[in-house]
Amino acid sequence: MRFYRLLLLLYPTSFRRDYGAEMTADFARRRHESSGALASLLLWFDTGFDVLRNAAAAHWDMLRQDLRYTRRTLARSPGFTLTAILVTAIGIGANTAAFTVADFVLLRPLPFPEPHTLIRLCWGPRSGGGWGCMNQLSPANYRDYKSMTASFQSLGAFTGIAVNLVEAGGDPQRLSGATVTSEVLPLFGVAPVLGRVFDSTGGGSADASAVVISYGLWQSQFGGDPRALGRGVNLNGTPYQVIGVMPPGFYFPSRDAQLWTHLVLREEDYANRDNNYLDAVGRLEPGVTMDRARADLNVVAERLARDYPETNADAGFSFFAMRDNMSPRYRLMLLGLCGATLCILLLTCANLANLLLARAGARERELAVRAALGAGRERLVRQIVTESMTLALAGGALGVALAAAAVPLLALLVPSTLPVASQPSLDLRVLALALAIATLTGLGFGLLPAIRLGGRTGLSALREGVGAGGGQKQRLRNVLVGVEVGLSVVLLISAGLLIRAVWRIQSVDPGFVHESVMTMKTALPRPKYDVTQRRLQFYNRVLTDVRALPGVQSAAYLTGLPMVMTGRVTGVVIPGREVTTRFRDDIASIRFVTPHYFRTMGIPLHRGRDVEDGDIQGRTPVAVVSESFARQFWPNEDPIGRTFESRGGPRTVVGIVGDVKVRGLERDNEPQLYASAGQVPDTAFINDDPKDLVIRYTGSVGALLPAVRGIVRAADPEQPISDVRTMDDVVAGETATRRAQLRVLGALAAIALLLSGVGIYGLLAYTVSQRSREIGVRLALGAEPASVARMIVSQGMKLALVGLVPGVLVAYWAAHGMRALLFGIDPADPATILGAVALVFVMTLAGALVPAMRAVRVNPMQALRAD
């Protein structure tokens, strides 16, 4: 019998209460009548099935009834319904969007089989350093690390390339990709959708002129035609043959890679241990941990340091999981964003709870009537929870739609250094999370008022009338509004600090005048332009014609734009001084420039002269250096006329210019060194070639661009133009990610302020309606209307104060956590905190205004007569 009673627990409580005893009696009788083990077994089987079926049906009946009732009551108060759904949608939408991006960038495994065993290996200082690749490996060091370690199942090398793709009849295109050793593509465990990847047999010398293309390039260039396989393409003037197409979603080494050529290392490539241009990528042996592999690599590094002290003495490696190849700033930004959305969620929950509490207060009488008519407490709680769940789920659905719309806006927060798509998609995990949040919100904040109500569903509520607000409930609502204010203070201060950080970054002097400078890239391909003289002819022809265009003030070519080309450093040796190691201070960033570069970019020439047309091969190699360069290498001396060595040759200083933030506004910069484009050695690595054209202009850039394109086409019809942009864009790009984060955070802070304002308004309005009798009496007894208004406003201010203090403390703690993002702004920045506090007070005043006016207008006679 006990088991039968347990089974009955599956029915809704009210049903069990009404019919449980009778059903138990029936069952006892039937059991008594059935004789024999088989009959008894059949009875149990029959009964179990009956209970399961009918209990589910009874619950479903009740739910249907509750839903019908909910639909009617919600339709009766559309304002409440709409507000509640919207508030929930904001909370759930913001969290779904933030979690989608954070999950995509920080948590989700990379889209390759066994992604946790994929690693990257580069060269770096022995003492460790920042994130990612510090420097590249030379082929000789790569070969030694590969052959002397046992931790890797596979290790391959690659280096990024950019090639000109010329198709007959089409405009030449500039494409990014990588040249990879035969190990690289197979180690990802991703098969090509078409054809094959590079052949590793024969010492890797096969497939020297083969190219594997990305799915995107296959679609755009070949229209997805399977016959693309085996087709010839012209890359940098050299014929290649397409041998394979990688699947969609395969991004390596970065998102913009569209093709891969075969990197074949020959014996002569291993000769110079100082020629660093390779990155390595690999897969760990099964069971080998990162730490064990690192220890393994350390042994090799030490041995190389002993064997080749002149190049490897102070050098080590940077070794990290492929998953971690991103700036820690992204992690911090995303965590900050998640923190902010969590604040919003809590705030919306508090808001929702407040709305439901207020509503429950207003409906106390109705529910008391229902209770008096025989509805049990469980029935009423169930009804209230059904209502809040309906609201939460509707809000959740709307929230997911909001998130789907918001995620593309967050794409800038996905680092381009990860081999993943630029935009996450909402997936099942995220939808499950949204559903969980919605359920919790609905249950949690529905139960709260339900439980409070359940306790007083007696006749007392009927008798007391509408004016009876429990003091306890009022306190709870005060606390909730305080929490709302506190959370909005946290968001306001965080957003404020980040705004100040962006301002400060934007006010950093980049060292050049970025207004009215247009730039574009014309990378001259090898072998067509393999001698400096030929390249110089091209530059001179283009520059002469461009300078003659109306509106052009000045134009020049250089190796790489500041803030775009952030690397490219060289060691500097001063003759007669002790040689120090290469990861210390004797490093400068190097660029090869044509004459007029400094004038074009507005970089001040402090002393000496600019690079001149006569600075060509065969003449004394010259250098223009930045102030910090001069200060560092010749403190208190005149650097003009001094010589130093870099990139294998001596150079004489002829001029001193201002410093430029070559690595970006937020980063430390090496001293800068500029050499003449006419003196690039013929044997120099292609990366040294000047390829960026900079033009200072007056008037509109729109008219200029076609003319410049025409000039380049006239100089070489096969030469593509890429990366057309202004220096304004480049500088703005420096803060783009931050501004994207800030826009989101700012919007969240504004929403928070609005919601807590609404919260204060709602509570004060409720108070005024509750206390209208008391206010009436006061007014009738001659109280000044102003004092009544003051009373309401001061109640609002008290609410705000309750939230302000903890809010400021939490904000300070949060700001400490994101210090790395603050660019030197103090987490306790008084201006920001005062600003946030002032905003909260303004919001409180605004929220209190209408209730205060309503209080003043209370008609004493009416208030006393009512109820």
């Binding site: 049903f15 009404d18 019919y19 005893a21 009778e22 059903m23 009956d50 209970v51 209990a55 049906a57």
Partner: protein, 120 residues
């Protein structure tokens, strides 16, 4: 309780269990278990209402006003205090009558089309 024709029609067709319960209570007040036995007897054991189906139907019929619970109890020596006794209401009787009529009409219609049982 006042009811209109449309109230009755809104309930039609009655679920099978509901109709049987109304028939079982047409002449006599009964408790749940007695209804179950009566239905089984009347249908020669073809229809056995399970406890869950029976009491869920009763609950709904009480809400709809087809039945009412009565406080009159049998003599104490015959009574089981766990039992609750149900009586058909005038509304319930009207509903049963309307359902009978609906079915009779249906049967008539089928007969006209030559669908009488026992004919080829």
């Amino acid at each position: 309780m006042a009811y209109s024709r449309s109230d009755v029609e809104a309930l039609l067709p009655l679920p099978l269990a509901t109709f049987h319960i109304l028939i079982a209570l047409a002449q006599e007040d009964r408790h749940g278990y007695a209804i179950m036995l009566d239905v089984a007897r009347r249908t020669d054991g073809e229809l056995r209402l399970s406890a869950g189906t029976l009491y869920r139907s009763i609950q709904r019929m009480l809400e709809q006003g087809l039945l009412t619970e009565i406080s009159e109890r049998p003599a104490p020596e015959l009574d089981d205090e766990r039992r609750r006794y149900y009586r058909i209401t005038p509304f319930g009787a009207a509903a049963a009558r309307a359902e009978t009529q609906r079915m009779a009409k249906l049967v008539r219609m089928a007969r006209v089309e030559g669908l009488s049982p026992g004919r080829a």
